[in-house]
Amino acid sequence: MRCPQPTPQGSVRTSAGKRVLARGAVTMTLLALSTRAMCLVAQPTDLGSLTLEDLGKVVVSSVTKNPEPLSKAPAAVYVISHDDIMRSGARNLPDILRLAPNLEVFQTSPGNYHITARGFSGNNVAQNFPNKLLVMIDGRSVYSPIFSGMYWDDQFVLPENIQRIEVISGPGGALWGANAVNGVINIITRNSAESDGGLLAVRVGNLESSAAVQYGGKLGKHAHYRVYARHVRRHELDDANGRPARNGWNSPQVGFRVDVQSSPDDTVMVQGDLHDGRTDQPGGSDARNTEADVLARWQHTISDTSGLQLQAYYDHVHRRDSNDGGSGFALDTLDLELQHSLAVGDRQQLLWGLGDRIYRYDITPRIAEASSLLWDPARNTQNLANAFVQDQVAINDETELTLGLKAEDDPYSGVSLMPNLRLSWQPGRSTMLWAAASRAVRTPTPFDEDVIEKLGTAVFLTGNPSFKREKLTAYEAGWRGQVATRATVSVSLYYNVYDDLRTIELSPTGLPLIWGNGMEGRTYGVEAWGSSAISDWWQLGAGFDAQRQHLGFKPGASGLLGVAQAGDDPQYQGFIRSMMNLSDSWTLYADLRGIDALPDPKVPGYVELDLRLGWLVNDKLELSLSGSNLLHAWHQEYPDGNRISRGVWLDARLNF
């Protein structure tokens, strides 16, 4: 880690060329404060007396090397660093996302989770799922356009390859892609130059066994590559009533990444993944989820203050359930994006971009005696286009104004305009105040417009061809500061005004029911987190969220299923986390989290503890013993969800 020079604008060198790197690069532009804190923690010894061999044994990164983001981004951003992930021992994305204080994570089965930010966790009875989040892996949007929600069992990144995860609660701003309503999760993997050599990671435990192998190296003079293969088996859990759910889950996955520095000003990255997951089902064959993706990105530095990025990806998803008459869907997505960033004068940084996503789906209806799920049309090709422009204006040395506007053209509701305005004020190097007002929409999906549900032979519910966008106007403010050389804090407040939220309405004849936009309301809350280095070898962190929802039905709405259909969210949640370097080779991680009860349907709150003891046996081998949810035999996280039981596992990681 470099010690930044005391120039107040430490990020000036981070030119536009870099700003265009990834939409998430907002948080990357300035970590100057936290890196400076890092530089103050180590204690030089008399290194001159050490041999070369011993020099290689000096531990230079301490637990305080946790880059708490003190970025300039005027938003509620929490960054999960590579080191956090390694210390926690979490090996799949949803468990890693539990590290972010500004997300709600509910595990419902061995492979599936509900994840949301700032409420709206959904309701199974109302067929409402968390659908207001944008999730991206290296610039590839992975939420499903069929219903705007996530299949978390389709997303896996080898934890060793994750560089960082930026979690933004609230509308991300103009430069984010579609569906960034309540939050953005941006997963960024390491350049393949950083994963040279071999890696073998094996886990055995009562709930999960997995193995991963990876090898990386150089391809000629200017390119690096890595290839990996991984298999995970998660054992069945008990259902909400305590009976075995017979829902064990397997997912083998392979993938690669190649990074080419084709000239000093040009980089090209190509990556791809393929997996074939299978979930056991009681009394029948497995449900399968297959996914394949390939992405290519070209980044070109035009000048010190200007850069260009062109990205394309193709993604294929195929989910099917032969137990259920072969129902499921195939989804093919082709996405193209262009971004250009340039400085305008000394005080303005302009970023604009265009994107187009074509997706084709082919849904096999579920036809069963009791209830059927059909679609009209069941097969379709649609287009989602967007354009955005953002201008960052330095009003003076301390104040920056960001103006953004995004236009999105979706196949159902046409063009939506999403403006946002952000203001940040940095009165000193160690503190920043920000405020933002933004508008975001969740655009209609096939599930909102085209679905037909039958009970027996009677049509029970249909999509609504005039379904409107769900709208959010968000007001946010926040404060981030370095309160001592070794402590950082972030506090964000939000006040969200929603309109046209999805509800179930009666058609003129009563039945069938029809999707409508009959709910409105407001939510507000606070998100706070901080971390502090108690000493060179011990760091403590804490996070806390509180939220309130005031939702109601608009005049004329049916009010069916009540406002609880929007979500079943805890009013409070929080954690305390401790990371220790016990010695050069032993580390201890502890995380105590508490989640308030879910109000309706009622699910008791819980407090749980995760621990991990890591032992660096030698340069090549690390062994660790971890336990998750250690305080109770089981707890439940979501209505009707599985009982999540205590987990214990042993991990070995070998570098070769």
């Binding site: 880690m1 470099r2 010690c3 020079q5 005391p6 060198r13 400076r36 890092m38 530089c39 103050l40 923690v41 180590a42 204690q43 030089p44 290194l47 001159g48 050490l50 070369l52 061999e53 020099l55 290689g56 000096v58 531990v59 230079v60 990164s61 301490s62 130059a193 950083e194 050599g197 150089k218 003079k221 200017h222 520095q261 000093p264 000193g428 190097r429 160690s430 503190t431 405020a435 007002a437 007001y475 403010a477 404060w479 500061g481 370095q482 309160v483 001592a484 050389t485 402590a487 804090v489 506090v491 407040l493 006040y495 901080g530 108690i534 403590l540 804490a542 660096l616 340069d619 690390e622």
Partner: protein
């Protein structure tokens, strides 16, 4: 376009939120950091933060001169026994301070170590070792090309973007500073590296 009064109200609302924030945050913050004993320290940064405490930099600086005995430069490198051994820092000014401190009073045989900081690495820089980091005026590749074929041990830092092509590359491996050696690049610069150093390297790249 919303009427002006409404915009003003929104502005006032934001301003109100900010004002409330300013009043309320200190108490929240200290509640959060109950256990933090060192919190009372003022966050005022020193005007010139002393970089002399970064262990990572100190270790890298120590490596730089400790590598020298295991590297063979061409015989004509030194004109006289008293000629200083030049270690150059191309770029990073704060690293320069560490290196000055690390080599103070030390020498390689009869050649006292001398540290030079360069803004730009040129073919006539006359360095035996050059550490390339945070160069403002050149890319790493341009710096390396400047001394290509010259008897210079090039050292790059993996924290640098596109830090490839140097003879020695520092990498952080599980919190420790280690290095990778490219013997092909060494041969191009007419430098040989002892097997002891190669054995200590995390990886050795042969000529490609």
């Amino acid at each position: 376009m919303p009427p002006r009064s409404r915009r003003t109200r929104v502005r006032a609302r934001i301003a109100g939120l900010l004002a409330r924030l300013g009043v309320r945050t200190p108490s929240c913050l200290f509640a959060l950091l109950l256990a933090c004993a060192s919190c009372e320290a003022s966050p005022q940064p020193a005007p010139h933060p002393q970089p002399a405490v970064s262990l990572e930099y100190a270790v890298k600086a120590t490596y730089l001169y400790k590598l020298a005995p295991f590297v063979n430069w061409p015989p004509a490198t030194f004109e006289s026994p008293q000629q200083p051994f030049r270690i150059c820092v191309a770029g990073d000014a704060s690293f320069d301070a560490y290196l000055q401190q690390a080599v103070a009073g030390r020498s390689l045989g009869t050649h006292p170590f001398e540290v030079h900081r360069l803004e730009t690495l040129t073919p006539d820089s006359q360095c035996q070792i050059v550490f390339i980091s945070r160069l403002a005026s050149q890319t790493v590749q341009e710096a390396l090309e400047a001394v290509d074929g010259k008897p210079v041990l090039t050292v790059v830092d993996s924290t640098e973007p596109h830090a490839d092509g140097g003879i020695v590359k520092f990498v952080i491996d599980r919190g420790r500073v280690r290095f990778v050696i490219d013997t092909g690049a060494a041969a191009r610069n007419h430098i040989t590296i002892s097997s002891k150093l190669l054995n200590l390297a995390l990886a050795v790249r042969e000529a490609s």
